[in-house]
Each structure stands twice: as C-alpha cells, then as structure tokens.
Amino acid sequence: MPNKIEMNNLSQVYYVRSGESSKKSAFYALKDFTLSVRDGEFVVVVGPSGCGKSTLLGILSGLFKANSGSIAIDGETVEGPALDRGFVMQSYALFPWRTIRKNIEFGLEIKKIPRKERGAISGAYIDLVGLNGFENRYPHELSGGMKQRVAIARALAYDPKVLLMDEPFAAVDAQTREKLQDELIRIWKKTNKTIIFVTHNIEEAVALADRVVVMTENPGTIKEIVPIDLPRPRVSVGTGVSERYSIFVNKIWGLLHNEEESFESAKL
C-alpha cells in the first residue's frame, strides 16, 4: 500500500538574535525532516518545546510554507490549507457565537454542503464524540474536555484524509485527558483516519501511537522513530500499566534526555 503522507526534506529556518552579539544566528525549527506515514496510521511526534513539532503541523496544515522541502498527501503536493486535513488545536478555537452543531458545521459550509445534509452530518459527529443533547448549547456552557470533543468533531465532520492534532489535551486535567485519549482511539478506529499528533507528554505518546517520532531541538530533526507494538487498549496510568509500556516510556525519556545507556540496558 502506498504511503498516505510523504514529507520530504522539510526545512524551516528562523534567524534570531542570540545573546549580546548583534549578529543573527540561524535557528533550525526543522531541518531535513523526512517522514512517510501509512494510511490509517497513528503517528505521535514528541520533543522538547521549540523542537519544531508545532512548526511541522503548521506546515502540514498548509498555514505556513516551509523554506524548502515538500509534502504530498495521496501523491498530491500540499499547496495550502484545504479540507483534506483537519486541524485540532490545544486552545479548542471554537466560535463562541455558534452552537455546538453550528461549530461542527463550519467546515461543511466551506465545503458548500446543502443545509439539510449538514444537519445529518453534524448529528452523526455529535453522536460520535458523545455530545448528544448538547447540540444547541454554546461553547461557554461546556467543560474543557467537552470543548475539545467539539473541536475534534468539527475537524472530522468534513471528512478529511488526515487529522492533525497540536497538543490537543494539554489544557485539560489528567483524568479528562485519559478519557479523551480513550475516546480518540475509539474514534480513530471507527473512522480509520491517519492521525499526526503532537505532544510533549511521553506517556500520552506511548498510549496512543503506532509509531512515536522523537525529535531533537535546533536543528529540529528526527532523532529516532520508535514503533509501539503494544496491544490496544493500552492502560497509561495506575496499577494496570504494563512493564513493556514503562520500558517504552523510559526509552523515549532517555532519547529526549540524551541518556543513551538507560535504554541500551532496557533491552526491548
């Protein structure tokens, strides 16, 4: 099967003033970033803040253009934002003047889907994220976790090929986060979307991913790709955490902290 997404040699440089010298130095948010993602794969990108993982999503969404390199989805080069990608942000970014239903229908309006069909589609996605009974509420009436479910439904409603998620669960409490992770896996299995998920939370990465892409900072590049072959459903907290889960977490922790030995000895 051909790959869903091909990222080829993506580079993004910013010139920043460093220290007291007036000379600007190059900051490589991304450097020669190359990654192929299979159809229906769940890829999680982890890295320290400033490693370019959000830049990567920005470029994937088409909101920014990379200095060099290219992206293709299903063989078609990405030129700008389009409805073949859904974008979920940490801050939800719901429209406060729209009801939940109307928020979810935003992309459908852009897609020029007739009003009648919009209602049926938004209804199905409200159902998918478990927000039945809330369709006519406004965002301010919802909790953080519920808002993020709306944002996910909004990004899925227009049926994109790829779902891009930028630290979507970073603003909710631990309990809600865990629940949302389970929900996301359920939704992913049901919709078979290809997901690129960015986080700085290692436990979250291991709980969700088929593969974890570990990035380094300046230059923002891939340090290692760790396939997570743990069976699902995975338990990420509490007493149910398996030994192998912890080994993956430790390995990625080690990669991020440059402690080569700690995972050499872990023997996966």
Binding site: S61, G62, L63, G80, P81, A82, L83, R85, G86, F87, M89, S91, A93, L94, F95, P96, W97, R98, F106, G107, E109, I110, G130, Y138, P139, H140, E141, L142, S143, G144, G145, M146, K147, Y158, A171, V172, D173, Q175, T176, K179
Partner: protein, 257 residues
C-alpha cells in the same frame, strides 16, 4: 419583585410631588402639581404636537446613529484588518476626538450646517462615530487569532473569515461602544435642539421657557426622561437579540460527564 419595587418608588415620587403641590409646600408657580403637568401632557398628546416633537428627535437620533455606524464599521474594519499599525497610530486621535465636549461643538455645527436637520443629525453622527470607530478596531484586534487560524486551516476564504469570524467576533464590543454613545448622543441632541431647532424635545423646553409656560416645561423634562429610557431599553433589547452567546474565555470548567 425588583421591577415592582422600582415602579413603587417612582409612583411614590409622583405622589409626594402631587401632595407637596396641593399642600402648598412648594411654589406651584415654579413647580406645578404633577396632575397639572399630566393635563398638559394629555392636551399636547391630543393635539398631536407631542408626537411631532418626539418623532422629530427620535428620527434625528436614529438617522445619526445609523449614518455613524455605517461610516465607522467599514472604516474600522479596514483600518484594523489591513493596516493595524495605522489603526494603532490613529487610535489616540479617535479617543481625543470623542473626548471633545460635543456641547461646545453645537454652535459650530449650527454655524456650518445651519439650523435645520443636518446640524442635528450631524451632532449625533459626531458623538456616535468615534466610539463606534474605536470599538470596531478594538473588537477586531481582540479576536482570538487561534479562531482565525482554525478557519484558515479549513480553507476558509477571506470573505468567509470576515463574515463568519471577524464580524460576529467583534459585534459584541462594537455594540458596547455604540450603546454608551447613544444615550450620550440623545443628551447632546436635546441640547442642540434647545439652542436652535424648529421641532424636537429640546425645542419644547426652549419655547416653554421663552413663553413662560411652566407646565409645558415639565412636560418636556418628563418626556425626555421617558424617551431616553425607551431608547436605551431598545438598544439593550437589540443587543440581546443579536448577541446571544457568552464570550468569557475563562479557565475551562472541569469535565463533569
């Protein structure tokens, strides 16, 4: 309950007024009894003169508001959207212009625009224009950029972003700016009508004073108060009709489900 008690306070005020006049506690030459004033209200209403004056003022007011908003919105959106730096640069000027006491400008408006409608509508236009302009700029600049990002990521066109994000995102702030200036605009209008006009609520005050028709003077005072309250209630209603959502972006409530 609150409504009832506030009505009761107002009724009590009129009762005390009436009683004070009847008991000769006040000089009825200067403050006629409430019943005398009301009789004058009915006679002016029966002749239709009262409504001529009310509608003259209200039409001026709303014409001025509509023109000011129609000028301020496009200008504000253009300044804030295309040249935010110019908007920042000009904002102190707008603030200063809105601070200029419009009462002092009434003679200027009458000098330049004449005694007729244009000068009255013009003064309302002036009073509403500046707050409407800078609340539009403020409204646009306080829109969460993440919302615009979300819309852009879905491939929304510029028109779609303007109509579905910028416009609804700033309308609440614009309303707040316009609402406060409308009540003030009405006050200034009455002042302008007292200095020079052929009809209007301020004109009632002016002519009653000139003709020493004291009951009619009080008719003017009461009518201006009632119309003022009605106008601000109307704007309030209009806002509630348009802005049905809450914008508090406070910390997200905990998951309860």
């Amino acid at each position: 309950m609150k409504k009832f008690s506030s009505m009761a306070v107002i009724a009590a005020f009129f009762l005390i007024w009436e009683a004070a006049a009847r008991l000769n506690l006040i000089d009825t030459q200067f403050i006629p009894a409430f019943s005398v004033v009301m009789r004058e209200v009915f006679s002016l209403a029966r002749s239709g003169a009262l409504f001529v004056h009310i509608s003259a003022s209200v039409i001026r007011l709303f014409l001025g508001i509509i023109l000011a908003v129609a000028a301020a919105l496009p200008l504000g959106f253009m300044l804030a959207g295309w040249t935010p730096r110019t908007a920042d640069f000009l904002n102190p000027l707008f603030t200063n212009l809105s601070m200029a006491n419009p009462f002092t400008l009434i003679p200027v408006f009458i000098l330049v625009l004449g005694m007729g409608e244009v000068s009255k509508v013009g003064i309302i236009f002036w009073v509403v224009l500046w707050p409407a302009l800078f609340s539009t700029i403020a409204g646009v600049s306080q829109i969460d950029p993440e919302m615009i990002k979300a819309a852009r990521a879905m491939g929304a066109s510029g028109t779609k972003i303007f109509l579905s994000v910028i416009l609804p995102g700033s309308v609440k702030r614009i309303f707040t700016g316009v609402k406060s200036s409308v009540t003030f605009g009405f006050t200034v209008l009455v002042g302008a009508e007292m200095i020079g006009a052929k009809a209007g609520l301020g004109f009632i005050i002016f002519t009653s004073n000139q003709n020493y028709n004291i009951p009619r003077l009080y008719v003017g005072i009461l009518t201006i108060a009632v119309v003022g309250v009605a106008v601000s209630l109307f704007i309030e209603r209009l806002q509630k009709l348009i802005v049905v959502w809450e914008e508090s972006a406070g910390p997200a409530a905990r998951e309860t489900r």
